[in-house]
Symmetry: D2
Subunit: 285 residues, 4 copies
């Protein structure tokens, strides 16, 4: 392929019906494109069709969009067109625990995670050094009063607008977002949450897990909705533990699962592999 | 070792305090025994000491017990002495689903699970052929009225007494045991339960798991208490699933986890590897 | 969908080039079909395009083939059209160990594995009872001389022809197939092989694995080629072990991995999810 | 426990024989100690007995050693006495790839890995910034000629002596150690190596793994012996991959397994949980 070739990602969502693949592949032919990766899913639950394509083509964005328009119009598609590898503009929120932030920063630098990190925001000062070692600005504001919380969230929205942020990552940010912020950023906020079999509600779940003698602990990365910890699940992992582990050790083990689970979820999101089907995610991995 | 050597399992539970290991290993020396496997655990939660030993010795049971008596008396120990590989007298209760029963029967015959199965009891006729292929008597009674349920449970207790049953396995027995039966067989009934991250309550959990798009499904083997599905956990496993799985496929995948998790729990119990520390299990695997 | 709707599986292999998806989806539209599952892969190694579709349509086979013909001709495609859930005609070869055969039979009966098993062949008598419990004829011939081996393999080919066998499964059949038989059944024979990290050559690999203290043991299901144990890999699994395991226990643990790995490979093959790209398999799972 | 209580680790190796546990637990009683963790293993292969104890006691080192001496003398034991949590003096050798070093440094700072890192040595300059961010001195010497290699290894031995180094970690150090250095540091050098099922020899194993279509890739942490990559295995992990992964992606996935596997092995070694039984490791985890 020549130097002008672009590697495109195209995602599509519409009502399921016959002929979609033929129509969309026709638009790709029209755009002189070659499909290099393709995944689709028809949801029986909602009657919705989902598709993700990677397409190599020498065409520019305007040309590709022109080729797609008749099809996306005809089928009433929600669609997105992006370039493979474009760094996703991402805002990270943290508190004191650095395990998730460290993993995100290390992998971003190692070239394994295509995100652009204009800022890390925190309600505590502890992680400034880590962020700055990786050259990422760090902004800290106390969040101990309702007024401070409101101000912090206003600042988040300001940063989102100023940097055209596409994803907000709660990397162990230990504050509950207001319903208004959840609503404003719906589908663009990923949180990481410890997870147990069976689940435990209330304070200090690791202590409860210990008391019950659970044999598996893990983590769930999910979209944030105003329904706390109940948003659509993106990824989950578990690891085996035994009776000899103290509550403190369970925390350390759980943190490893949190890091890798959150990073995985961010990576898939950045690659447009995460689509929403009502309360479920479709993951085109 | 000569022909008369026996391979003993000794389990001990007592209040934690210094000197226990020295005392008990002294009794083993007294019994001319050689410790071939040893595990211990001191619970910080309850201040209890747990130990499991395997000992090779030419001594007979009376001799071994005599050597142990001064130590078990002095420390107020709860203890059990058994012979490695002795088949555990086990009663299996089933309903219609055969996956767990098949796994238990196959492994018992393959020599991988040391249990003696004098009877399979069921509230449905479907699994008679499977049980009888493996030469295990099968007894079926309808359980559709409260009176029938009472009669079934009375028959269970009768079988437990008649065959000196040491373990009752609920291998997808789809009836809730009465609190009275739970109490009567406390610490001797193992159940298998599907498990999800996060947990789901109520009817048709696989359907709920599907709706929420869970990425891991699994199974938990636990002791039965009158607190439904909340008894001490013995073993847990999970397997990864994705959005393309139908609720029916989730059921099939979950059944595999149920079989292997239940069989594992039964095996550990039969080998005296499962001890209770309040609501937690200590697993000496 | 009405009663006459069929759920088709279509697999395609051809030289990679632009326009294939558009052409094939056009043929599906022509056949009044709806694509319910679609996976594709372009191999950079061999320049080959692979596709697997599931299509719902009211059309009959002749009609579907007529709609496909212009496309498959134009692109020089190798293709197959089958009906979802049609049982694959499968011949199983065994020796003495029953763990793999038991798993195949149990899952076939449980409706989790869509195979038709007209015969089990063995060079030993031990597994007759198991096969016959599941109602599968069992044929045993000693294979201790070169002449007997030749006769056995001739009989295999005869059975393959007589029953129009599509897959031969070596479910712990402990004889090496002749190069001639491998050639005659190329791409239609699946074997299961224990696997270790690192690999061990020669006799008694479990003993070698034990001596080296490996921490993971597993199994590999692969196509049989005349290059012994080096055919394309279909599926692999491992499980964790530790220093306390005897060589005998490693064997038992390894057998579990063998069963589930082999059954998985057979299931994917029966669903036309396994395609060959030179020495690699493409698995559309 | 009062302020003067110490938490000791005691490891013992001797010829297996009756009475060892009783004798050693007697010495613990003598030292007014309480056993909080205990693991033992009798190797049938070599007739060797291995034990690891954690003991709480108010006694000082000299007192504990005096209490142990009669027993360790009588049984001809090799033994070590250390304090729980004492940082292990560790020298890390690296080349260009930073994934293993990053994981070691991050976990050391996070308090999850009890090591003292006086120096990182490398034959390349790339990782200086990472080491120095964590406050660890970094020393770089080119190793492109036999003379430079000799000088590098002499410097390693000098550092080992100067800092009383207890463990040398090859964190993707891409040079083969000379047999003389392997010998001089026998049992004190841990390496990390990618691993595949089946194994691949020779250059570019990821490319070979890709060509064969392996479904699992992983890593093995092992002691370095002069027999390259064949030293006793400490830990192994694998992760699942599929046909769509490029050789480059296999490398990235493999690196994650390398990091976590190496860090785990270092952690166990630092906690005196790794003992050698001929070519096997006993891991008391």
């Amino acid at each position: 392929m020549n130097a002008a070739t672009t590697h495109w990602i195209l995602t599509l969502v519409c009502r399921d019906q016959p002929g979609i693949v033929h129509a969309i592949s026709g638009a790709v032919v029209e755009a002189a494109g070659n499909i290099t990766e393709s995944q689709q899913f028809s949801s029986n639950d909602t009657g919705t069709f989902f598709m993700r394509l990677q397409v190599e083509s020498g065409i520019d964005r305007a040309g590709f969009e022109a080729a797609l328009a008749p099809v996306t119009d005809r089928y009433g598609m929600t669609w997105e067109l992006d370039v493979v590898g474009r760094p996703l503009r991402t805002l990270v929120l943290v508190s004191k625990a650095g395990h998730c932030l460290n993993d995100l920063l290390y992998r971003q630098r190692a070239g394994q995670l295509s995100v652009d990190l204009p800022l890390v925001m925190s309600n505590h000062p502890e992680l400034r050094g880590l962020a700055e070692f990786y050259g990422v600005p760090f902004e800290q504001h106390a969040v101990t009063t309702p007024g401070q919380k409101l101000a912090f969230e206003d600042r988040v929205l300001e940063v989102v607008e100023q940097h055209d942020i596409e994803l907000v990552v709660l990397a162990r940010y230990m504050q509950i977002l207001s319903p208004e912020l959840c609503e404003a950023l719906s589908g663009r906020v990923i949180n990481i949450h410890h997870s147990f079999l069976p689940g435990f509600k209330g304070a200090n779940p690791y202590k409860q897990a210990h008391a019950r003698g659970v044999k598996l602990i893990g983590a769930t990365a999910h979209f944030v909705t105003s329904d706390l910890d109940e948003g659509p699940i993106i990824e989950q992992n578990v690891v085996r533990v035994d009776h000899s582990r103290s509550p403190g050790e369970l925390v350390a083990i759980g943190q490893d699962e949190e890091s890798r689970t959150l990073t995985q979820a961010v990576k898939w999101f950045a690659e447009h592999r995460v689509l929403l089907d009502s309360a479920r995610t479709i993951i085109f991995k």
